[in-house]
């Protein structure tokens, strides 16, 4: 029987190999028909449009320039999934956002991280805390993909201890003057709209933090060198520099001194949506390993027949499925209004640590080939590791959960 391939498959072997292993690995138990349809549709889109750029993005450490992925994702309505329809969003919930995040991450970890920072850290924070005027001013272009969004809270000397941030915002006539640095800002180099946290009252501890909306081109705001990272290469990250940067009064997000609430509540949802990132990476590991173990022969048979290998893929599979169940259950809860910080932290704590292990096993399954950069497994490991650090390190997540459990009556 001849097989005729649709135009899309002519894109190349790499794409074909990936798509050929998309079978019953996605739990239909977690999603209803519409969500499954969406998952399938985003998967096709991501594999066709984003996946071909994954390797080069990693090698060159730069976000794809020859195609406008931001715009294409915008046209596919991926940015404003949780934003109101009046600004171009879809008014849907975190479940759909996680589905999109997982499938984009499966195609390219770097693009997904940038997408997550743009659509959740920036867009969703504006949706949740912005005034009508701010939403009208910034959301439409961010949602269409014309503008890129970012968020900056960490500083060179304030990571886990983010509340000790030194970036200052001094009150002046009509606004504030911001001085300081921010570190590890995803999308920093290209973002037009950035949410930045600064201290309006350095003596008030956490209650002295205020969130501001910064625009690219503001006098006194600049970006420093792009960071050379271990993984997530191409998800352009840099240091932000504020030198007497004037920010008008109307650019405060929520209220002066209320920044810590914006920050902490935003972190819960950030952790949930980003938790879908490692899910995508784990799926990508299986996408690479399963065809390989069916084909690669040693001792006269496919290595997939050997027990050690079967054990490894079984562990990889169950790690993915269980993490997935956790993430999407919590997403459903959040959509229903039950946002539990312990579970939000739990999802990414769980998914991230497992993803690193799954990626390590993926390299091991490919043996010597896994050690060669021509195969995706090395990149998958380097990308996976980030998720144990960003959005609150695993250690911080454990504190959030442990402290939360201790405080409960």
């Amino acid at each position: 029987m001849q097989r005729f391939f649709a135009a899309r498959s002519i894109l190349g072997n790499a794409v074909k190999t990936r798509r050929s292993s998309f079978s019953s690995l996605s739990s239909s138990l977690l999603f209803d028909d519409t969500q499954l349809q969406f998952k399938e549709s985003v998967s096709k889109f991501a594999q066709d449009v984003i996946a071909p750029h994954a390797e080069r993005t990693d090698k060159t450490n730069s976000f794809p320039k020859d195609v406008n992925l931001w715009k294409q994702m915008g046209e596919f309505n991926l940015h404003g999934i949780t934003a109101p329809e009046e600004y171009g969003g879809l008014g849907l919930g975190y479940l759909y956002h996680c589905i999109a995040m997982e499938e984009i991450s499966r195609a390219s970890g770097s693009v997904a991280l940038s997408y997550g920072a743009h659509s959740n850290l920036c867009i969703n924070q504006l949706v949740r805390n912005g005034t009508t005027a701010q939403k009208q001013k910034y959301l439409p272009k961010l949602i269409s993909g014309e503008h890129v969004g970012a968020l900056a809270m960490s500083e060179p000397n304030a990571g886990s201890d983010v509340v000790s941030m030194k970036c200052k915002a001094d009150k002046v006539d009509g606004g504030y003057i911001i001085n300081g640095n921010k570190m590890w800002c995803t999308n920093g180099p290209s973002a037009e709209t950035l949410i930045v946290y600064a201290k309006t009252d350095t003596k008030a501890g956490s209650k002295g933090i205020t969130a501001f909306i910064i625009e690219k081109g503001m006098d006194g705001f600049s970006t420093a060198q792009k960071l050379d990272k271990l993984g997530m290469r191409g998800s352009d990250t840099c240091e932000l520099v504020f030198e007497n940067c004037f920010v008008p009064e109307e650019n405060i997000l929520d209220k002066e001194g209320k920044g810590v609430y914006v920050l902490m509540s935003g972190l819960d949802l950030e952790r949930l949506v980003l938790a879908a990132g490692p899910l995508g990476i784990m799926q990508a590991c299986l996408d690479t390993v399963l065809p390989y173990i069916r084909q690669r022969e040693q001792f006269g048979r496919p290595i997939g027949e050997l027990q050690f290998i079967q054990g490894k893929v079984a562990d990889m599979y169950t790690a993915l499925q269980s993490s997935r169940s956790y993430v999407y259950s919590v997403a459903r809860d959040c959509d229903n209004g039950n946002i539990d910080p312990k579970d939000c932290a739990g999802t990414i704590l769980c998914a991230a640590e497992r993803a690193t292990q799954v990626a390590l096993q993926a390299i091991q399954c490919l043996g010597g080939n896994g050690y060669i950069n021509e195969y995706a497994t090395g990149r998958l490991l380097r990308d996976a590791k980030l998720y144990e650090i960003g959005a609150g390190t695993s250690e911080i997540r454990r504190i959030v959960i442990g402290r939360g459990l201790f405080k409960e009556q």
């Binding site: 029987m1 001849q2 097989r3 005729f4 391939f5 649709a6 135009a7 899309r8 498959s9 074909k16 798509r19 050929s20 998309f22 079978s23 019953s24 028909d33 519409t34 349809q37 969406f38 549709s41 985003v42 096709k44 889109f45 046209e75 596919f76 309505n77 991926l78 999934i81 879809l90 849907l92 759909y96």
Partner: protein
């Protein structure tokens, strides 16, 4: 004008198929099924014609078991206005499908019927042609370009044929089957997937359409093609000629 698009639910193109041990067909248990790629192209072209203002409605039709509804939902998510599901658990051959489509066409009165040039499971490349013949309509198959002239009620179609490209002008209503290079089908975006939930899918049976489904063709067996054998090294040109004449019988 209404456009009718026939879409078939087939084994996904990327799946490695296996023949069932009893040789009655291909194993489709737990295998990923999708819309036939050529049918996607057909639907995409119909949607573009509607978006250009030449048609008012695009109707997707699928013939098969209950799961065909999924295929229709994909079509609706791409942009079709409504779907028709002719439900049957039998696997029909092209002539029966063509008779069903003819009956539907008499019911719906479309100005154009789009089909994929062939399905990737049976590669028959017959249904479109048979539908046109049964209806007495002109046909333009293997279309790689379709241009409509609303006022003259004709379609100018470039066909991909062995000799190159042939350009035909067909009066409407007509049957067009689509080839690979006609267009790049769109992805179903989330807003359209949501909208598709409320679009109607009408269920019909072959009895409703008064079609005789008796087939004159019986599939005896389905087997895998023989394994490719390795080549034979010959020691001289004479031996080669001898083999070509006496074994392969080609000279």
């Amino acid at each position: 004008m209404k456009i009718l698009v026939a879409v078939k639910r087939v084994v996904d193109y990327a799946v490695k198929i296996r023949v069932k041990p009893d040789k009655t067909g291909v194993d489709t248990q737990n295998v990923k099924m999708s819309m036939n790629p050529f049918c996607e192209i057909a639907l995409e072209e119909a949607l573009r014609i509607k978006e250009a203002g030449f048609a008012k409605e695009v109707v997707a039709v699928s013939i098969g078991p209950s799961q065909c509804v999924d295929t229709l939902r994909t079509g609706l998510a791409m942009g079709a206005d409504r779907g028709i599901h002719v439900e049957t658990n039998s696997s029909f051959l092209p002539l029966t499908i063509a008779k069903i489509l003819k009956s539907l066409a008499e019911f719906e009165n479309p100005g154009l019927i789009f089909l994929g040039k062939q399905a990737i499971d049976d590669d028959c490349n017959q249904t479109g042609q048979m539908v046109a013949a049964l209806l007495g309509w002109p046909q333009a198959t293997f279309a790689s370009k379709v241009v409509l002239d609303k006022d003259k009620h004709v379609a100018t179609v470039d066909r991909e044929v062995d000799g190159g490209l042939e350009t035909l002008c067909v009066d409407l209503p007509a049957v067009i089957t689509t080839d690979l290079r006609l267009n790049q089908p769109r992805y179903a975006s989330l807003p359209n997937i949501m909208k598709a939930k409320s679009k109607p899918i009408k269920k019909m049976t072959v009895q409703d359409l008064k079609v005789d489904v008796k087939s004159d063709i019986e599939i005896l067996q389905v087997t895998e093609p023989p394994q490719r054998k390795s080549g034979v090294m010959v020691s001289s040109v004479d031996e080669l000629i001898d083999k070509l004449r006496n074994e392969a019988h080609v000279v």
